[in-house]
Symmetry: C2
Amino acid sequence: MAKTYKIAVIPGDGIGKEVTPWAQKALEKAAEGVADFEYEHFDLGAERYLRDGAILPEDEEERIKRNDAILLGAVGDPRIKAGILERGLLLKLRFDLDQYVNLRPSKLYKGVTSPLANPGDIDFVVVREGTEGLYCGAGGAVRRGTPNEVATEVSINTAYGVERVVRYAFKLAMKRKKHVTLVHKKNVLVNAGDMWQRIVDEVAEEYPEVSHDYLHIDATTIFLVSDPSRFDVILTDNLFGDIITDEAGAVVGGVGYSASGCINASDEYPSMFEPIHGSAPDIAGQNKANPTAAILSAAMLLEHLGFDDAAKKIHQAVEADIEELGSTVRSTDQVGQDILNRM
Amino acid sequence: MAKTYKIAVIPGDGIGKEVTPWAQKALEKAAEGVADFEYEHFDLGAERYLRDGAILPEDEEERIKRNDAILLGAVGDPRIKAGILERGLLLKLRFDLDQYVNLRPSKLYKGVTSPLANPGDIDFVVVREGTEGLYCGAGGAVRRGTPNEVATEVSINTAYGVERVVRYAFKLAMKRKKHVTLVHKKNVLVNAGDMWQRIVDEVAEEYPEVSHDYLHIDATTIFLVSDPSRFDVILTDNLFGDIITDEAGAVVGGVGYSASGCINASDEYPSMFEPIHGSAPDIAGQNKANPTAAILSAAMLLEHLGFDDAAKKIHQAVEADIEELGSTVRSTDQVGQDILNRM
Ligand SMILES: CC(C)[C@H](C(=O)O)[C@@H](O)C(=O)O
Ligand SMILES: CC(C)[C@H](C(=O)O)[C@@H](O)C(=O)O
């Protein structure tokens, strides 16, 4: 009998609610016969916050932790001050569940029109650190609202936190084209940048087959446009990873095709899978959002649990769907159903 | 008789040395009859540092300060540890001379091939704060080189520093398409982001004709690829400005066409004009670098000194040159001479 996995489902806000059900359906269908899923739904996000002020109650977080993995839709709502849900829900989960590898593949699928004139063969993965850097929330402000206000943001980086994600990147490179590009801004952020570079150089010695180089974040934004096929594994910190994965998403034809995994690679806590797009309030509730990224995040969840063949079913269905119908205007449900029908 | 202006010239490293003479020649020719220039050359950069260990000696900085403006080439050399020249020379000048507006226009010239399939009509200016944020150098490290190392980087933002650059952006927008886009990451960097947004909202009230909106830095990298013609004035902090101006440079066909001004808008100290490209060690010394960005930085210098007509001569010559010969492979000297011949 197939083993049953417990999946926490957090559809969240806006289009998150529309695309997440399709991720679940794809999960089910792909794993038919090899794994069963039991879902625990969590009503978290803007609606809940506006209703009862709760963002991520402790007991619910405890229940989330008891699952084998998490499917997340999107978090963010224009009615709520920027940062409240992001810091209180999404980032709190990434930090509390120690999801230190934020894994974000970028691939230009056949049938997708890139905004680039000559995109070439784009297929790289960004390994973004997920639990440190400027995302720690270690800033403050004095004399707020006065002409003498000073506001700070502090990036905290530890050898412990950097080394584990660097190792992950080199291991991943061994399964790919064996090249790691460290992205930072070490000519300005000399303390953090120097530490990242030293740790990369050290770990690289254990992987003689993997070549590695370094690019400043600003130069990286250029190459993502001028020569994106040069990349294999991009390794970077939390903020730079946020920035370049959105640019990469645009370059491969829109964040509608970009999934991500917030991975606790030590398996102490469940990992979380989500499309990299946001809640898109402008198109929410209109059955317009593309569920492909959410469906691909289900494939990443399957890979994480060890079901590579099941994940492959999703990838193949998505690739075939995009190749044939990628340029057709379809509803959320239509795309979801079309992909499911191919599985 | 035409007034004489004193210009400090810092060619710096790599291709900086090849393109800066063309900026001077363009300056001379454009201002013929309306202004004269007296140059003071400063031997600063990698060669000097390797020779005698000097980066920016105090007396030389004092002499630089006594000029009316500064022409800078590029700073950076692979033989020298990242950060030493950048922090000790380039950023030190920007900070000590309180060049709080880092002005970076992006324009897609006729005749230039953008890497985008449908670039549209790109013409915007990034107003990057130049004296605060993560560039302050307020970080540190403990237990360096051990498994317990912690490295920090601190972003310092003041209402004083933000307000003056916000005002500059709104004033600039009045002379353009009257739209300001604030770029930040206020859903994560809640202290600094909140202050930026509040100050923008306050200053905006004094400019009822200027509309303004907000974009996260990650979303901005998407729009720069998918819809760059939407922008007019982009207002942002030091690090985000660094990142998006390089991406913008790529989108308008390469940073070879992008100039910048590090402006002390209160005129207490001289402002500095430089191409946004780096020292490009890979092509340095080969008479290959495109001097157009350096020549355009001379035009920005002229505008700053109030010589709009002279600046226009440069712009027109550059535009005509690019339109006719932009896609031809030419040497540094050939491009420089071609542009000069048109003036
Ligand atoms: C919503 C936001 C906090 C988040 C981030 O910055 O990490 C998002 O942009 C992402 O990339 O997942
Ligand atoms: C060389 C470097 C310190 C500099 C910066 O980061 O500001 C450069 O990238 C720039 O954009 O002028």
